[in-house]
Protein backbone atom coordinates (compact mmCIF):
# COMPACT_ATOMS: atom_id res chain seq x y z
CA UNK A 1 0.00 0.00 0.00
CA UNK A 2 1.35 3.48 -0.93
CA UNK A 3 1.78 5.95 1.98
CA UNK A 4 -0.96 8.17 0.58
CA UNK A 5 -3.53 5.40 0.27
CA UNK A 6 -2.62 4.14 3.74
CA UNK A 7 -3.33 7.62 5.06
CA UNK A 8 -6.71 7.70 3.28
CA UNK A 9 -7.48 4.25 4.67
CA UNK A 10 -6.72 5.31 8.26
CA UNK A 11 -8.69 8.54 7.86
CA UNK A 12 -11.61 6.50 6.48
CA UNK A 13 -11.47 4.13 9.45
CA UNK A 14 -11.48 7.13 11.80
CA UNK A 15 -14.58 8.50 10.02
CA UNK A 16 -16.37 5.13 10.37
CA UNK A 17 -15.52 5.05 14.10
CA UNK A 18 -16.72 8.64 14.50
CA UNK A 19 -20.08 7.65 12.94
CA UNK A 20 -20.23 4.59 15.21
CA UNK A 21 -19.82 6.77 18.31
CA UNK A 22 -22.26 9.36 16.96
CA UNK A 23 -24.76 6.50 16.49
CA UNK A 24 -24.20 5.28 20.03
CA UNK A 25 -24.69 8.80 21.33
CA UNK A 26 -28.02 9.12 19.47
CA UNK A 27 -29.17 5.78 20.96
CA UNK A 28 -28.30 6.90 24.50
CA UNK A 29 -29.94 10.29 24.00
CA UNK A 30 -33.20 9.05 22.41
CA UNK A 31 -33.56 5.47 23.67
CA UNK A 32 -34.43 4.07 20.18
CA UNK A 33 -34.32 0.25 20.38
CA UNK A 34 -31.53 -0.27 17.78
CA UNK A 35 -27.77 -0.59 18.21
CA UNK A 36 -25.57 2.47 17.72
CA UNK A 37 -23.86 0.83 14.73
CA UNK A 38 -27.17 0.66 12.77
CA UNK A 39 -27.88 4.33 13.55
CA UNK A 40 -24.27 5.07 12.49
CA UNK A 41 -24.93 3.26 9.18
CA UNK A 42 -28.00 5.43 8.52
CA UNK A 43 -26.10 8.62 9.46
CA UNK A 44 -23.20 7.67 7.16
CA UNK A 45 -25.60 7.01 4.27
CA UNK A 46 -27.16 10.46 4.80
CA UNK A 47 -23.74 12.15 5.06
CA UNK A 48 -22.64 10.50 1.80
CA UNK A 49 -25.87 11.47 0.04
CA UNK A 50 -25.59 15.10 1.19
CA UNK A 51 -21.92 15.21 0.21
CA UNK A 52 -20.81 15.99 3.79
CA UNK A 53 -18.47 13.00 3.65
CA UNK A 54 -16.77 12.34 0.27
CA UNK A 55 -17.10 8.73 -0.90
CA UNK A 56 -13.37 8.52 -1.73
CA UNK A 57 -12.53 9.15 1.93
CA UNK A 58 -14.36 6.12 3.37
CA UNK A 59 -14.40 3.75 0.40
CA UNK A 60 -11.15 1.81 1.01
CA UNK A 61 -11.73 1.35 4.77
CA UNK A 62 -15.36 0.29 4.17
CA UNK A 63 -14.41 -2.14 1.39
CA UNK A 64 -11.79 -3.81 3.60
CA UNK A 65 -14.15 -4.22 6.57
CA UNK A 66 -17.00 -5.54 4.43
CA UNK A 67 -14.75 -7.98 2.54
CA UNK A 68 -13.59 -9.53 5.82
CA UNK A 69 -16.85 -9.23 7.77
CA UNK A 70 -17.16 -13.03 8.17
CA UNK A 71 -13.89 -13.19 10.15
CA UNK A 72 -15.33 -10.77 12.73
CA UNK A 73 -18.19 -13.20 13.48
CA UNK A 74 -15.90 -16.09 14.41
CA UNK A 75 -15.22 -15.06 18.06
CA UNK A 76 -18.97 -14.74 18.87
CA UNK A 77 -19.46 -18.06 17.01
CA UNK A 78 -16.87 -19.66 19.29
CA UNK A 79 -18.99 -18.35 22.21
CA UNK A 80 -21.50 -21.14 21.43
CA UNK A 81 -19.14 -23.45 23.38
CA UNK A 82 -20.26 -21.78 26.63
CA UNK A 83 -23.78 -23.15 26.19
CA UNK A 84 -22.87 -26.76 25.44
CA UNK A 85 -24.86 -28.07 28.44
CA UNK A 86 -27.99 -26.00 27.83
CA UNK A 87 -27.88 -26.68 24.08
CA UNK A 88 -27.63 -30.43 24.71
CA UNK A 89 -30.50 -30.39 27.23
CA UNK A 90 -32.83 -28.31 25.05
CA UNK A 91 -31.47 -29.15 21.61
CA UNK A 92 -34.78 -30.17 20.03
CA UNK A 93 -36.83 -27.01 20.72
CA UNK A 94 -33.79 -24.80 20.08
CA UNK A 95 -32.92 -26.46 16.77
CA UNK A 96 -36.59 -26.68 15.76
CA UNK A 97 -37.21 -23.01 16.51
CA UNK A 98 -34.02 -21.87 14.77
CA UNK A 99 -34.64 -23.90 11.62
CA UNK A 100 -38.38 -23.08 11.34
CA UNK A 101 -37.87 -19.41 12.20
CA UNK A 102 -35.00 -18.94 9.76
CA UNK A 103 -36.75 -20.71 6.88
CA UNK A 104 -39.96 -18.76 7.55
CA UNK A 105 -38.21 -15.39 7.43
CA UNK A 106 -36.26 -16.31 4.27
CA UNK A 107 -39.42 -17.52 2.53
CA UNK A 108 -41.69 -14.65 3.57
CA UNK A 109 -39.26 -11.79 2.88
CA UNK A 110 -37.76 -13.28 -0.30
CA UNK A 111 -41.01 -14.29 -1.98
CA UNK A 112 -43.04 -11.25 -0.86
CA UNK A 113 -40.38 -8.89 -2.18
CA UNK A 114 -40.08 -10.85 -5.43
CA UNK A 115 -43.86 -10.78 -5.90
CA UNK A 116 -44.12 -7.03 -5.24
CA UNK A 117 -41.35 -6.30 -7.72
CA UNK A 118 -42.75 -8.61 -10.39
CA UNK A 119 -40.25 -8.99 -13.18
CA UNK A 120 -39.06 -5.38 -13.03
Amino acid sequence: MKPRSLLVFLAGLAVLLAFLYAGEWVVRATGVPVPGSVVGMVLLTLALRLGIVPLALVRSAADLLLRHMGLLFVPPGVGLMLYGGLLRAQWLPIAGASVCGTLAVLLVVGSLQQRQEGDG
Binding site: V38, G40, M41, V42, T45, P75, L80, C100, L106, V109
Partner: protein, 230 residues
Protein backbone atom coordinates in the same frame (compact mmCIF):
# COMPACT_ATOMS: atom_id res chain seq x y z
CA UNK B 1 -0.94 -7.61 30.56
CA UNK B 2 2.55 -8.96 29.86
CA UNK B 3 1.12 -12.46 30.19
CA UNK B 4 -2.14 -11.94 28.31
CA UNK B 5 -0.78 -10.02 25.31
CA UNK B 6 0.97 -12.97 23.60
CA UNK B 7 -2.16 -15.06 24.23
CA UNK B 8 -4.40 -12.38 22.73
CA UNK B 9 -2.18 -12.07 19.66
CA UNK B 10 -2.17 -15.85 19.32
CA UNK B 11 -5.99 -15.92 19.54
CA UNK B 12 -6.28 -13.35 16.71
CA UNK B 13 -3.71 -15.13 14.53
CA UNK B 14 -5.29 -18.56 15.13
CA UNK B 15 -8.79 -17.22 14.39
CA UNK B 16 -7.60 -15.57 11.17
CA UNK B 17 -5.75 -18.75 10.14
CA UNK B 18 -8.87 -20.85 10.80
CA UNK B 19 -11.11 -18.40 8.90
CA UNK B 20 -8.92 -17.90 5.82
CA UNK B 21 -8.13 -21.62 5.74
CA UNK B 22 -11.86 -22.35 5.84
CA UNK B 23 -12.49 -19.72 3.15
CA UNK B 24 -9.86 -21.30 0.92
CA UNK B 25 -11.55 -24.70 1.27
CA UNK B 26 -15.00 -23.12 0.72
CA UNK B 27 -13.88 -21.43 -2.52
CA UNK B 28 -12.23 -24.59 -3.82
CA UNK B 29 -15.13 -26.92 -3.01
CA UNK B 30 -18.12 -24.53 -3.44
CA UNK B 31 -19.88 -26.65 -0.77
CA UNK B 32 -22.34 -24.35 1.02
CA UNK B 33 -22.25 -26.35 4.28
CA UNK B 34 -18.56 -25.50 4.53
CA UNK B 35 -19.53 -21.90 5.39
CA UNK B 36 -16.27 -20.26 6.58
CA UNK B 37 -17.82 -18.75 9.76
CA UNK B 38 -19.22 -22.17 10.71
CA UNK B 39 -16.07 -24.15 9.94
CA UNK B 40 -13.70 -21.63 11.56
CA UNK B 41 -15.84 -21.44 14.74
CA UNK B 42 -15.96 -25.25 14.95
CA UNK B 43 -12.19 -25.55 14.43
CA UNK B 44 -11.44 -22.93 17.11
CA UNK B 45 -13.90 -24.54 19.57
CA UNK B 46 -12.30 -27.94 19.01
CA UNK B 47 -8.81 -26.48 19.50
CA UNK B 48 -9.80 -24.69 22.73
CA UNK B 49 -11.47 -27.82 24.16
CA UNK B 50 -8.48 -29.96 23.19
CA UNK B 51 -5.97 -27.54 24.75
CA UNK B 52 -8.18 -26.83 27.79
CA UNK B 53 -8.29 -23.07 27.10
CA UNK B 54 -11.39 -21.34 28.56
CA UNK B 55 -13.48 -19.07 26.30
CA UNK B 56 -12.71 -15.95 28.39
CA UNK B 57 -8.98 -16.42 27.84
CA UNK B 58 -9.52 -16.86 24.08
CA UNK B 59 -11.87 -13.89 23.91
CA UNK B 60 -9.27 -11.45 25.21
CA UNK B 61 -7.95 -11.65 21.66
CA UNK B 62 -11.28 -12.56 20.06
CA UNK B 63 -13.01 -9.39 21.15
CA UNK B 64 -10.34 -7.30 19.38
CA UNK B 65 -11.75 -8.81 16.16
CA UNK B 66 -15.41 -8.56 17.10
CA UNK B 67 -14.85 -4.90 18.06
CA UNK B 68 -14.61 -4.18 14.32
CA UNK B 69 -18.16 -5.47 13.76
CA UNK B 70 -19.31 -1.99 14.90
CA UNK B 71 -17.46 -0.02 12.20
CA UNK B 72 -18.25 -2.82 9.70
CA UNK B 73 -22.00 -2.27 10.19
CA UNK B 74 -21.45 1.51 9.81
CA UNK B 75 -19.49 0.75 6.60
CA UNK B 76 -22.69 -0.72 5.08
CA UNK B 77 -23.63 2.95 4.59
CA UNK B 78 -21.30 2.90 1.55
CA UNK B 79 -23.18 0.25 -0.49
CA UNK B 80 -26.45 1.79 0.73
CA UNK B 81 -25.37 5.15 -0.69
CA UNK B 82 -24.17 3.62 -3.97
CA UNK B 83 -27.40 1.63 -4.40
CA UNK B 84 -29.69 4.37 -3.13
CA UNK B 85 -31.71 4.65 -6.35
CA UNK B 86 -32.51 0.92 -6.42
CA UNK B 87 -33.50 0.92 -2.74
CA UNK B 88 -35.52 4.16 -2.65
CA UNK B 89 -37.58 3.10 -5.68
CA UNK B 90 -38.69 0.00 -3.69
CA UNK B 91 -39.22 1.73 -0.34
CA UNK B 92 -42.80 0.66 0.32
CA UNK B 93 -42.45 -2.94 -0.80
CA UNK B 94 -39.32 -3.26 1.35
CA UNK B 95 -41.12 -2.05 4.47
CA UNK B 96 -44.05 -4.42 3.82
CA UNK B 97 -41.84 -7.48 3.22
CA UNK B 98 -39.75 -6.93 6.32
CA UNK B 99 -42.69 -6.20 8.60
CA UNK B 100 -44.33 -9.46 7.48
CA UNK B 101 -41.02 -11.31 7.88
CA UNK B 102 -40.59 -10.03 11.42
CA UNK B 103 -44.08 -11.11 12.57
CA UNK B 104 -43.82 -14.54 10.93
CA UNK B 105 -40.28 -15.04 12.25
CA UNK B 106 -41.21 -14.34 15.89
CA UNK B 107 -44.39 -16.47 15.69
CA UNK B 108 -42.70 -19.43 14.00
CA UNK B 109 -39.65 -19.53 16.27
CA UNK B 110 -41.54 -19.05 19.54
CA UNK B 111 -44.36 -21.37 18.37
CA UNK B 112 -41.99 -24.17 17.34
CA UNK B 113 -40.03 -23.92 20.60
CA UNK B 114 -43.13 -24.07 22.76
CA UNK B 115 -44.70 -26.93 20.75
CA UNK B 116 -41.46 -28.88 21.17
CA UNK B 117 -41.71 -28.49 24.93
CA UNK B 118 -39.30 -25.66 25.73
CA UNK B 119 -39.67 -23.85 29.06
CA UNK B 120 -40.73 -20.16 28.83
CA UNK B 121 -37.23 -18.69 29.22
CA UNK B 122 -36.05 -20.73 26.22
CA UNK B 123 -39.09 -19.64 24.16
CA UNK B 124 -38.24 -16.05 25.03
CA UNK B 125 -34.60 -16.60 24.11
CA UNK B 126 -35.33 -17.99 20.62
CA UNK B 127 -38.01 -15.45 19.61
CA UNK B 128 -35.64 -12.58 18.68
CA UNK B 129 -32.80 -14.67 17.18
CA UNK B 130 -33.20 -13.40 13.61
CA UNK B 131 -31.87 -9.94 14.38
CA UNK B 132 -28.40 -8.53 14.93
CA UNK B 133 -26.76 -9.51 18.28
CA UNK B 134 -27.04 -6.26 20.30
CA UNK B 135 -30.75 -5.84 19.45
CA UNK B 136 -31.51 -9.53 20.05
CA UNK B 137 -29.83 -9.46 23.47
CA UNK B 138 -31.73 -6.32 24.48
CA UNK B 139 -35.04 -7.92 23.42
CA UNK B 140 -34.30 -11.15 25.34
CA UNK B 141 -33.45 -9.07 28.40
CA UNK B 142 -36.71 -7.17 28.15
CA UNK B 143 -38.97 -10.21 27.63
CA UNK B 144 -37.38 -12.55 30.19
CA UNK B 145 -35.12 -14.72 28.03
CA UNK B 146 -31.44 -15.55 28.57
CA UNK B 147 -29.46 -12.86 26.66
CA UNK B 148 -26.14 -14.76 26.23
CA UNK B 149 -28.04 -17.81 24.96
CA UNK B 150 -29.88 -15.56 22.50
CA UNK B 151 -26.52 -14.13 21.35
CA UNK B 152 -25.25 -17.65 20.66
CA UNK B 153 -28.47 -18.57 18.79
CA UNK B 154 -28.21 -15.38 16.71
CA UNK B 155 -24.85 -16.57 15.34
CA UNK B 156 -26.21 -20.09 14.75
CA UNK B 157 -29.19 -18.61 12.90
CA UNK B 158 -26.89 -16.37 10.85
CA UNK B 159 -24.81 -19.32 9.70
CA UNK B 160 -27.91 -21.44 8.95
CA UNK B 161 -29.59 -18.67 6.94
CA UNK B 162 -26.41 -17.96 4.97
CA UNK B 163 -25.98 -21.62 4.08
CA UNK B 164 -29.56 -22.48 3.05
CA UNK B 165 -30.72 -18.99 1.97
CA UNK B 166 -29.31 -18.49 -1.53
CA UNK B 167 -30.07 -22.01 -2.95
CA UNK B 168 -33.53 -22.08 -1.30
CA UNK B 169 -34.50 -18.65 -2.63
CA UNK B 170 -33.27 -19.44 -6.15
CA UNK B 171 -35.30 -22.65 -6.16
CA UNK B 172 -38.36 -20.63 -5.15
CA UNK B 173 -37.87 -18.42 -8.18
CA UNK B 174 -36.57 -15.37 -6.33
CA UNK B 175 -34.52 -13.60 -9.01
CA UNK B 176 -34.59 -10.02 -7.75
CA UNK B 177 -31.23 -9.01 -6.27
CA UNK B 178 -32.93 -6.77 -3.70
CA UNK B 179 -35.25 -9.62 -2.63
CA UNK B 180 -32.30 -11.98 -2.14
CA UNK B 181 -30.36 -9.39 -0.11
CA UNK B 182 -33.37 -8.42 2.01
CA UNK B 183 -34.17 -12.06 2.80
CA UNK B 184 -30.56 -12.80 3.79
CA UNK B 185 -30.24 -9.66 5.93
CA UNK B 186 -33.56 -10.14 7.70
CA UNK B 187 -33.21 -13.90 8.35
CA UNK B 188 -29.47 -14.00 9.01
CA UNK B 189 -28.46 -10.40 9.98
CA UNK B 190 -24.71 -9.65 9.68
CA UNK B 191 -23.61 -13.17 8.75
CA UNK B 192 -26.25 -13.16 5.99
CA UNK B 193 -25.06 -9.72 4.91
CA UNK B 194 -21.49 -10.99 4.60
CA UNK B 195 -22.94 -13.77 2.40
CA UNK B 196 -25.05 -11.26 0.41
CA UNK B 197 -21.94 -9.14 -0.26
CA UNK B 198 -20.43 -12.19 -1.98
CA UNK B 199 -23.33 -12.05 -4.46
CA UNK B 200 -22.91 -8.34 -5.20
CA UNK B 201 -23.25 -4.75 -4.07
CA UNK B 202 -27.05 -4.50 -4.55
CA UNK B 203 -27.56 -7.64 -2.44
CA UNK B 204 -25.17 -6.35 0.23
CA UNK B 205 -26.85 -2.94 0.44
CA UNK B 206 -30.33 -4.49 0.70
CA UNK B 207 -29.12 -6.86 3.41
CA UNK B 208 -27.57 -4.00 5.41
CA UNK B 209 -30.84 -2.08 5.25
CA UNK B 210 -32.74 -5.23 6.26
CA UNK B 211 -30.63 -5.62 9.44
CA UNK B 212 -31.75 -2.19 10.61
CA UNK B 213 -35.43 -2.51 9.65
CA UNK B 214 -35.78 -6.08 10.89
CA UNK B 215 -34.10 -5.10 14.17
CA UNK B 216 -36.49 -2.21 14.68
CA UNK B 217 -39.63 -4.17 13.78
CA UNK B 218 -38.63 -7.16 15.93
CA UNK B 219 -37.69 -4.95 18.90
CA UNK B 220 -41.16 -3.41 18.86
CA UNK B 221 -43.13 -6.60 18.08
CA UNK B 222 -41.46 -9.31 20.19
CA UNK B 223 -42.59 -8.01 23.62
CA UNK B 224 -46.16 -7.63 22.28
CA UNK B 225 -46.35 -11.08 20.67
CA UNK B 226 -44.57 -12.91 23.51
CA UNK B 227 -46.75 -11.28 26.15
CA UNK B 228 -49.99 -12.04 24.28
CA UNK B 229 -49.29 -15.61 23.17
CA UNK B 230 -46.46 -17.28 25.07
Amino acid sequence: MAETLPGAVLAVVATAAAYYGAQWVYRRTRLLVLNPVLVASAVVIAALLLLGVPYDAYNRGGRVLSYFLGPAVVALGVPLHLQWGEIARRGRSIFASILAGSVVGILTAAGAASLLGAPPEIVRSVAPRSVTTPIAMAIAQKTGGIPPLTAALVIGTGVLGSVVGPPLLRRLGVRSRTALGLALGSAAHGVGTARALEEGEVEGAAAGLAIGLMGLATAVLTPLIVRLLF
